[in-house]
Amino acid sequence: SAVISQKPSRDICQRGTSLTIQCQVDSQVTMMFWYRQQPGQSLTLIATANQGSEATYESGFVIDKFPISRPNLTFSTLTVSNMSPEDSSIYLCSVEDTREQYFGPGTRLTVT
């Protein structure tokens, strides 16, 4: 199974600023995903990040707010832009590997 790491593991940010979250996988994967888990809730897909093409965003999420990069088959970044307290969540990277999806440890973001 793929092993996924994320940086930072947690951060506290001021409203109006931006944070970039990094996701590193120990093997090459085609599909990478970014999910959000708001406090006390389950996971919601933000976007699918494909190498060599634009990310595909789910309804309710836009590129200006959550720009994504996917420079190669083992790495992706998610930026949370112009943050507000409502963006306080856990952000999770995941990958699909042989029809199974694995998740990283998450980045806990608090916006004050």
Binding site: F33, L43, E96, E100, F103
Partner: protein, 111 residues
């Protein structure tokens, strides 16, 4: 609209007391049904993927089953270390990769 509903929301068991968690789903076509375990402050840990009705998978004290409308996660003789939130997610055939998650079942196993 695709939906995933998990029950119960919370479950308290005594150590050794077997039980089942339910995940009912509505999708136009199922590519796979996933079970995860999530501990507080951590990312979901993959447990099982089931692909077709009648399929069963086991791992230690856990056994997952699948029908055309629901999945069960059976926990046999649970231990306190099985305490966690168990998440169910479905993957639609038409969307290929997106996981639609249920709200989870919080399991507490008391010694």
């Amino acid at each position: 609209e695709d939906q995933v509903t998990q029950s119960p929301e919370a479950l308290r068991l005594q150590e050794g007391e077997s039980s089942s968690l339910n995940c009912s789903y509505t999708v136009s076509g199922l590519r796979g049904l996933f079970w995860y375990r999530q501990d507080p402050g951590k990312g979901p840990e993959f447990l099982f993927t089931l692909y077709s009705a009648g399929e069963e998978k086991e791992k230690e004290r856990l056994k997952a089953t699948l029908t055309k409308k629901e999945s069960f996660l059976h926990i046999t003789a649970p231990k306190p270390e099985d305490s966690a939130t168990y998440l169910c997610a479905v993957q639609e055939a038409k969307s290929s990769y997106k996981l639609i998650f249920g709200s989870g079942t919080r399991l507490l196993v008391r010694p």
